[in-house]
Point group: D2
């Protein structure tokens, strides 16, 4: 359809009922708007600031929920992995393995993900240039896997703020792979004294529109029916009720961009 | 027309013939595309890195050329001033006084510009937050002049690079004044060892599209029929031959944005 | 004596009695510690965030106080100027003309300061690299004035924070001119929502010790007997009662550095 | 002795002969200068930019060399680990487990390192504030291991540069653990287009002196008898022949600091 694709879902898999409910609603919206959809959910949160933060409901339990979403709604799924050992395990359940931004330089992890033959979505480190992501892409391709996606999630700007550098989108597209903009994490306000990352959810639409205008291939967005009570990243998740309105606008901009 | 407005012209007024030629072409394009147009030209370059850089053809000579452009084509003009003493002088010839980014905190300059009764276009310092620009706006308004425009021209990112922070656009619009994105200077690469600022003109379209998508009220762009031989800022100016294509795309995006 | 020199005083000249009192105390300390001392005071604050901030007691009145300090205690003085017109006026009263960081690229200002024949102390813009300061030095020297001093006052790090980049000290010293570290302004926290710059005075000693250790030629520090009630920059000024202790430590470090 | 301690050695363990030679020389120098010394060597390089970069001579082989250095010279050793699985393996051979900066938020890794009962040296991520490192310290301490060290290795400043923020040293010391400054990696110039990190070895002395002056507890420095031909990080390693001169100066500064 010439449309952008969407990676969306809750931050973490908190339970089957809520995962299914979120998936169902996104499927409904993306079907209507003809947006290719990949359901996203983390089965484990491995890099929280604080030890007492929520880290998951159990790996296998969460991965099975991802599989059920996929089977029920006929959509692919994506989840993030944190060590080489997790690659094969997660690959048994999902379609896209995501490499967290902090870990995008870890060769063992990239190689293990590549070897599963699944799509590998590499998030650009908040400290890396768009140009330097070609070395990460190479690590996957040299394993014989050409199914690479790159995702931008903003750049550190001082200690407690992030800025999206939209110049990085065309730069990363030079690697001949789809480039995604992660709206949710680009709006994080890290290094808060509380040990809980803050956010600027009022700016979701601003950041997303600019991304579509510069030609991103996909949008990544975390959404939840009750962000304030989500188990992680509540500060930035889009309320599920606002997703259709946002995507409708983005599709409209995309249609114009497609004409150029 | 609901369209954005355009501040455009060469960086500096290099001579009458070339100024008139550039103005004529932009008038032609902007009439066709129904874009309100303000002709831009500096009569003096006061903050060049190097003493041997081009600094102007003479203040009065350049200001008279701006006046001639205005009279001939029936368009308003904008130029930048660098000291309180220049405000009244420039105001005799142009419609909009522009405060350079480095000088946006100089109270005397803002007050003098405000007192002319002309529009005052304040460029956001590369080192200032969008939020803090409200104090600059106040300095103009408290002189009884409500004709304020704010312009973003990027933020320092390390010593030799700049990033546009699009979150700043809606933030500055909260001051109830038009907000412009300066495409040309947002792409500068300052602090080059040569003492000549570099640029990334290949990214003009990327930066501009994102600006329109997030809802800027105006676009600032320097353009020249021969950027490589322009007297200043050649590294970033758009070739005049490419202006129509760029603006055509921006108008198309704007039309979609206007529907929301 | 091989010692570093000191530029110190209140931020602004608030009145004669307090200026004399501060000067007397610093003279006492610097005589004891054999530190060459230059008394600092601004006669006008031209770049405050807010229009309602204190901007001075009157130019001539303040300049005469600087002259009286100089005559009474036999110490040179330094003050900052903001436009070419101010250069000759201030030069009639003080020994060193200081160019504010925001204005360090303004050619007219540098040239006017250079032509007075006085020492010119150029503050490095928070957005400029140490390397690029050689162009500012050139602007002064090409007027036939070789009495240039460079001062580092930190670099923007995000919108609301600054970091001193100590690598810049030896870099600027390559211009064969003294390099000063401005402790007070390096600890600013700009762009606060209140429009009043914040600070981190608890880190004064940390920033200063590192400066001496890397070999700065001079230290700039604002000090006041009652920082909380100072008319400007209260957030960062050192209490006058703590100056001797700080300088004693710095002299001790300097003595070791001098042995290398 | 009130002296700072030193973590030093080559970047990677390239072979037994060279490791022993480097260790022998550092032991000689540090004995003379009374500096507590911990020999450093990586047994695997897991986060190189490029897949074709040197990644090690084999884990066990390299770890045995570290053990031999320890047994021969009677010095403790430190090496970095990259996954929870590596913690117990490395702990069988070395005294300090080091957590790489990119991985300092990985809870599983910190917990696994803590559980070995060894010292855990956590490098502050280039994207993290000094304040936020308390959460990393907590993750180790809550496992019952109080032997934590924090190491600063600079902060991202733009894409291709880093700055040491010395304010972070006293901030991290508030956690009541020793704080080390990593001179070598603080001078990296990341994101180079070649995929090989650059450096500024001419500034080693500048960065180190400032660190000692602000009171770091330890210094981390990579050194090699032939940096140009080292297998990794050659751009920043100190030539072994220059180590004694550097440490002699640092010890002299430390002695003054100890008097305050």
């Amino acid at each position: 359809s010439g449309n952008f694709f969407l990676l969306a879902g809750p931050c973490a898999i908190e339970g089957e009922e809520i995962a299914m409910r979120i998936a169902e609603r996104i499927v409904e919206i993306t079907n209507k708007l003809e947006i290719p959809f990949i359901f996203k959910g983390s089965y484990r949160k491995a890099n929280r600031s604080r030890l007492d933060s929520f880290s998951g409901i159990g790996d296998e339990k969460a991965l099975k929920i991802l599989k059920k979403v996929s089977d029920t709604f006929g959509v692919p799924t994506v989840t993030d992995i944190h060590s080489a050992e997790e690659a094969a395990m997660a690959a048994a359940y999902v379609d896209v393995l995501q490499i967290p931004a902090f870990l995008c330089r870890q060769t063992d992890l990239l190689v293990a993900a590549a070897k599963t033959g699944k799509f590998v979505n590499i998030k650009k480190g908040q400290f890396l240039s768009a140009e330097s992501m070609k070395f990460a892409v190479d690590k996957v391709r040299e394993m014989g896997n050409d199914q690479v996606i790159l995702t931008d999630r903003g750049n550190m700007f001082g200690y407690q703020d992030m800025i999206v550098d939209y110049r990085g989108i065309p730069t990363m597209q030079k690697n001949n792979c789809p480039v995604v903009l992660d709206i949710t994490h680009s709006l994080q306000q890290p290094n808060q004294t509380s040990g809980v990352t803050g956010g600027r959810p009022d700016l979701i639409e601003t950041v997303a529109k600019a991304g579509i205008a510069v030609g991103v291939d996909g949008i990544f967005i975390e959404t939840h029916p009750d962000p304030a009570n989500a188990k992680s990243d509540g500060a930035n998740m889009l309320h599920l009720d606002h997703l259709e309105d946002l995507l409708t606008k983005l599709v409209a901009i995309r249609k114009v961009i497609n004409q150029f």
